[in-house]
C-alpha cells in the first residue's frame, strides 16, 4: 500500500506571519519552489523580477488550465480555494500590489472568491501569461510578443506577476511551515509535492498529490491502477512527452528529460496496449493545430501541416519521406512563435516518433501494432 502526500489537498488554515518581498524571495529560493503551470520556472525569480520593477505590481492567480488532460487546478480551486487565496494575498501584500485577480477555467464560473475573478475562454493558449494579461485587459486572450516582459509592463502597464494557482497554494504552505518542511518531500534537486492528474487506462482517474521523483507506477496505482496492460505513458500533457510504461521510472525533470518529457503541469495519461500511440498522438496534434491563436505565421501554417502528416502516418497512408517530413516540419516551427505552443507541440511529436518507433515502421508497411500484435 502506497501513501500519497496530502499537503495541498489537506488544506491549512493555521495562522502565518506576512513576509516582506525580500523575505518571500529568500523563502522561495531556499524552498526551491518552481512554477506548477507547466514551464517549471523558479518561482522566486519571477517574484524578484516583479519586485525589482520598482512600481506597484498587479498579481494574478492563473487557474485557466487550458490543458485538456489536466484537472488539478480545478480540483484545487474547488476543494482548497482558501489556500490559493492565501497565497495570492501573501504575494500581493509582500509586493505591495495595487490589485489581485483570479483567472479561472470556464467550469469554475460559479466560484465565489471575494476578489476580482475573470473566466478564461476554453482555449489551450488562453493560460499563457501574456494571454492572461490580454484577457484581463479585455483584449483577445492570445499571447503577445515577449520583447517587453509582463513582469516589467503587463496589465495596465503595471509590472504583473502571473502565477499558477497551485504555485500560490504552495507559497501559502511554505510561508506557514518553512522551506525545510517543503523540501521534506520530493528530491533534493526538485523539492516539494505536485498535483498530478492521472487518467487514461486507470481504474479511478483523478487528481493525486505526490513528491517529485515519485515512481510512475505509484502514481498509476494511486489512480486505481491500470485496467489494461499499459504500453506507454504521456507525462506533461499535450505539450509533454511519451515515456515508457516502467513502474520504477521517477516522475521528475531529471529522469524524464531523457525522453524529452518533464512533469510539466502534472498530467499523466496511461495508454493501453489496445490503442495505437501514433493514432493517439495524431489526434492530439490535430487538437493542438486547432488550438493555435493564429497570430504567428510559422505556427498557423506549420502545426496543421504537422497534424495532417501525422494523421497520414497514423492512418497508414504511407508515402516516401513521410517520417522525414515530420522531422523537417518539427524543426521548422520550433521556437518560431510568440508563445511556446509550437515548441510544446514539437516536443510531443518528437517523443512520439521515438516512443512509437516500432509502430512507425509497422505503419509504413501498412500494419498496426495496436491490440496485441506487438
Amino acid at each position: 500500500m502506497i501513501t500519497m502526500e496530502r499537503r495541498l489537498l489537506a488544506g491549512d488554515d493555521s495562522p502565518f506571519a506576512q513576509p516582506t518581498a525580500t523575505q518571500l524571495v529568500a523563502l522561495l529560493r531556499e524552498a526551491g519552489l518552481t512554477g506548477r503551470g507547466g514551464a517549471g520556472f523558479p518561482a522566486w525569480r519571477k517574484l524578484e523580477a516583479v519586485a525589482d520593477a520598482g512600481r506597484p505590481p498587479v498579481v494574478v492567480g492563473n487557474g485557466a488550465e487550458g490543458e485538456p488532460l489536466s484537472g488539478k487546478d480545478r480540483a484545487l480551486l474547488t476543494y482548497q480555494p482558501q489556500l490559493v487565496l492565501d497565497g495570492l494575498r501573501i504575494v500581493a501584500r509582500a509586493l505591495g500590489a495595487t490589485a489581485t485577480h483570479l483567472y479561472v477555467h470556464p467550469a469554475l464560473r460559479a466560484l465565489t472568491v471575494g476578489i476580482p475573478m475573470t473566466v478564461a475562454p476554453d482555449a489551450f493558449v488562453a493560460g499563457e501569461e501574456s494571454a492572461v494579461v490580454n484577457a484581463l485587459a479585455g483584449r483577445a486572450p492570445v499571447p503577445s510578443d515577449k520583447r517587453i516582459r509582463i513582469t516589467q509592463a503587463g496589465l495596465g502597464g503595471a509590472p504583473t506577476l502571473v502565477q499558477n494557482v497551485e504555485t500560490l497554494a504552495h507559497i501559502a504552505l511554505i510561508v506557514r511551515h518553512g522551506p525545510q518542511w517543503f523540501r521534506s518531500a520530493g528530491t533534493p534537486d526538485e523539492p516539494g509535492t505536485f498535483l498530478a492528474t492521472v487518467g487514461g487506462a486507470v481504474a479511478a482517474p483523478g487528481v493525486v498529490e505526490a513528491g517529485y521523483g515519485v515512481r510512475l507506477g505509484d502514481l498509476v496505482d494511486a489512480a486505481g491502477g491500470p485496467v489494461q496492460p499499459v504500453q506507454a505513458v504521456l507525462v506533461g500533457g499535450y505539450h509533454g512527452g511519451w515515456v515508457p510504461a516502467w513502474p520504477e521510472l521517477p516522475v521528475s525533470r531529471a529522469a524524464l528529460g531523457a525522453y524529452g518529457s518533464s512533469p510539466g503541469a502534472g498530467v499523466v495519461l496511461a495508454l493501453p496496449s489496445s490503442a495505437c500511440g501514433l493514432a493517439e498522438t495524431a489526434s492530439i496534434a490535430g487538437c493542438l493545430a486547432g488550438q493555435v491563436a493564429g497570430q504567428c505565421g510559422p505556427c498557423v501554417n506549420g502545426l496543421p501541416r504537422i497534424a495532417t502528416t501525422l494523421a497520414d502516418l497514423a492512418a497508414r497512408r504511407a508515402r516516401p519521406g513521410l517520417v522525414d517530413e515530420v522531422t523537417r516540419l518539427s524543426a521548422l516551427v520550433q521556437g518560431r512563435g510568440a508563445c511556446r505552443h509550437p515548441d510544446g507541440t514539437v516536443r510531443l511529436v518528437r517523443s512520439a516518433m521515438r516512443a512509437f518507433a516500432a509502430d512507425v515502421t509497422a505503419h509504413l508497411h501498412g500494419e498496426c501494432l495496436a491490440g496485441g500484435a506487438r
Binding site: L136, R139, A140, A293, Q295, V300, P304
Partner: protein, 191 residues
Amino acid sequence: MTDALWYFGRGTGLVALVLLSVVVALGVGARSGRTAFGLPRFAVNLVHRNAALLAVVFLLGHVVSLYFDPYAQLRLVDLVVPFAGEYRPFWLGLGTLGLDLLLAVVVTSLLRHRIGARAWRAVHWLAYLCWPVALLHGWQTGTDGTTWWLRTVAVLCAALVAAAVAWRLSPGFERFPDRVPRKRPVLEEAR
C-alpha cells in the same frame, strides 16, 4: 518672370502627379511580396519611398511657385486650409487637401518606427484618398485642364493605378497563395 512661375507651377504639379501614381502602384503591388521589374522587394520598397519623397519636393515647388504667381492670387491660408480660396475654390481646395493628406502619410511613414505599425497603417490608408484627390485637382484646376497632353498623362496615371489595384484583387496576386491567413488580435468580448 510671371510666366516662368506659372509654367514651373504647372510642370511641377504634373510631375508630382505622375510620381504619386507610381508610388501608389508600387505600394499596392508590394503587398504581393513579389519582386518587380527585376528589382528585389527591398528595392521596390525603396523606390516607393524615394518616389514619394521626390513627389513632396515637386509639390513644394508646385505650391511655392503658384503662391508667388500674381495670377493665381493664393493666400498663405490656401496652402493649408482646403476650399477657402477665391480662385476656383473646389478644384484648388482638392489640391490643398491632397497636399495635407500626402504630408500626413509621408510624415507618419518617416516616423513609423516611433508611432508603431498600427497608427502608421491607419494613416497610410489615406493614400487611397490622397491619390484620386490629386488626380481630380490636376484634371480640373489648371488652364491646362483642357489640353490633350495633360488629359493623356492623367489617363495613363489612372490606368497605372487601376491596373495595380486590379492585380491586387486578382487570385494570383499573392506570392504564397497557399498560406494560411494570420489572425490579427482583435478585441473580443471579455468573458
